[in-house]
Symmetry: C2
Subunit: 375 residues, 2 copies
């Protein structure tokens, strides 16, 4: 990654939390560890911290590169850095890996000190409510009273919303991108097919595959292939792959024939080697469970009562996973509470994945919004 | 099925074809058997035959019931019968099971007389072009010079189009419902995930699972769950299932929590016990391969040159698998060839599955069109 406005080399940090975490599910996590990265400098008033919440398969490595792996730039490196839309010359940016994750924070692959074995299937179900509590505790440990902004796309946007709901005093601005106030039946259906692919893989072993020296590779691969379809738009797939054949002619067999098959299988194979299946299962459940209006008779406006943050809400025209309509329902509920909301629907052909891509209009909107935040 | 205008009891028939079938793939099927059903009477002029082409998981049992199973009505029983839109008082209706199928026509589970074992993975890949040839041969055997109409939805609509292309003299009318002139990259992607689910199931055994006394149940179940999502509209899923919980409260585990999960898993389980996985694989490839414009520089109008049939093309507003836009591109190509085309986009909330459902507007359109066909 040769990038003149990159943050450069970054180093993950770890924090251990000893107070038990009472989870939304009723279970208790006795202690846990968070891995995180920071970019830029915390100012003297400690008022310029921006928390980045990751999506389903993301993590704390949001920007910059590691000294020993200079090609592995963070997943939002195009958005965050000196002079970038989220400008590390002004902001102290924090990327964290959520608990339940598989990149260093406590999760299913972590050794459970009670058993000296990985948690596996014993790792408790988590929700955005639990994550919001870990964000609050992280802020306390870093001596940050309030985040200047909490920013996320997709599940990360939901996590940002959740923190603004659960800890209104901690969030000055929330940037919610390509998200929804809850999943639809169709969203849940796709998640369940992905989960069933993993759970019915004979190598899943009820979640305790670590001890078997195996991983449910087949299931995780299918889950990722399927997920990928929902991240792209029909149009972007058509543009990028169309009906192009890999070898130029039909093979009349089940090997790769169309380029789209080659792409999806490659993405699935790669992911299956890198990501923990139990974490994938958990993350899809976090998505399914997110529904702040549930306890308010499905009245999202009532759910947002008490929120204090200012909001930037962004959606993408070709996102059929979380369509602009879903963002507008968030905007309406925020406006019903007389909150300050900026909203834009960005014309994009790249589907849900647009939130990760460099697009001038999109980046300019984030830049303008962030520039107007006083620190 | 208590249905006063049902055809009543029907009986499948078999025909054996001894002339080798040269397949589109280059392979040769030495002989094959077709299973079919007929409803109504062939008139003296033998001019009132209507061929019904089935979709991915359909078969020859299109209407009526079997004496030993009076509840198992044919898959299009609401459309075909005395006084119904395709009126068996006027038409001699033929339902067939395509070769490659798993309901009686020669397919992967058929015993290969050369080996005395099921074909399994040795069954050759088939295409709509091969099926069209079998339709022509069937007509010859039944002494039918020309079908009054060839009718189908989804893959069945593609099969009807193919026959109108390959044997223009054999098709007086083609009724093409909820179809497309070719799959998009996204359509192919969904098919490939389904295929990979089956092929990577350890019980698939390279397609020769019959000898292992097992079936790739897990893979077929996933394929069907996924397929089902694409048959329904987002709205119809939301209406039918929403975010309703099965037990009324969250369980925080991977069992069924939402009603949509229960529905999909049930559909998947049921299908996996009834349908042959090798046939499923073949049928998805038939879909992928269908692309009459391929040999005409992607010019569908050029591909349709020489077609003689009159057409009724129907699409459904909420069908995102084969959207109305896809049907309109068929209509345009037909009009470019000065063919008679009637087209309607039917307002429906039921997605792709609408073509199987009873809807007044839809059925009235088919009825009017069919009534105007002289026999």
């Amino acid at each position: 990654m040769h990038d003149s406005d990159s943050i450069g080399i970054v180093t993950p940090q770890h924090l251990h939390f000893d107070s038990p975490l009472q989870l939304d599910s009723g279970a208790i996590l006795d202690s846990y560890e968070l891995v995180y990265e920071t970019y830029g400098e915390l100012n003297a008033a400690r008022s310029n911290a921006v928390l980045i919440c990751h999506a389903l398969s993301g993590n704390h490595h949001v920007a910059g590169v590691y000294a020993d792996n200079p090609k592995n730039a963070g997943w939002w490196n195009n958005m965050i850095g000196p002079g970038k839309p989220i400008d590390t010359n002004r902001f102290f940016v924090i990327g964290i890996n959520n608990i339940g994750g598989c990149h260093g924070s406590t999760g299913p692959a972590t050794i459970n000190t009670k058993t000296n074995k990985p948690f596996g299937a014993d790792f408790p179900m988590v929700t955005t409510i639990d994550w919001a509590e870990t964000y609050v505790r992280l802020a306390q440990r870093l001596n940050i009273d309030q985040f200047a902004a909490v920013v996320g796309g997709s599940l990360g946007g939901m996590s940002a919303m959740q923190l603004s709901l659960d800890a209104p005093e901690k969030v000055r601005h929330a940037v919610v991108i390509a998200a929804a106030a809850k999943l639809t039946a169709q969203n849940i259906a796709f998640n369940d097919v992905a989960r069933q692919a993993i759970i019915t893989d004979p190598d899943y072993h009820g979640g305790d595959y670590y001890a078997q020296q195996t991983i449910p590779r087949r299931g995780l691969r299918l889950a990722r292939m399927l997920g990928h379809i929902t991240y792209l738009s029909d149009d972007s797939m058509a543009e990028k792959f169309g009906r192009e054949l890999r070898s130029g002619s039909l093979g009349y067999n089940f090997d790769v024939e169309f380029q789209i098959e080659s792409y999806l299988r490659y993405q699935g194979d790669k992911f299956a080697e890198q990501f923990d299946a139990n974490t994938y299962l958990l993350m899809t459940k976090v998505l399914d469970y997110f529904d702040p209006a549930r306890d308010y008779n499905n009245d999202l406006s009532a759910a947002f009562h008490g929120v204090k943050a200012n909001f930037l809400v962004l959606s993408f025209s070709s996102d059929w996973r979380f369509s602009p309509e879903r963002s507008r329902s968030i905007v309406k509920a925020l406006l019903d509470n007389n909150l300050n909301v900026s909203y834009a629907e960005i014309a994009s052909r790249h589907g849900h994945d647009s939130f990760l891509m460099k697009d001038d209009h999109y980046h300019q909107l984030v830049r303008s919004y962030m520039n107007n935040i006083t620190t």
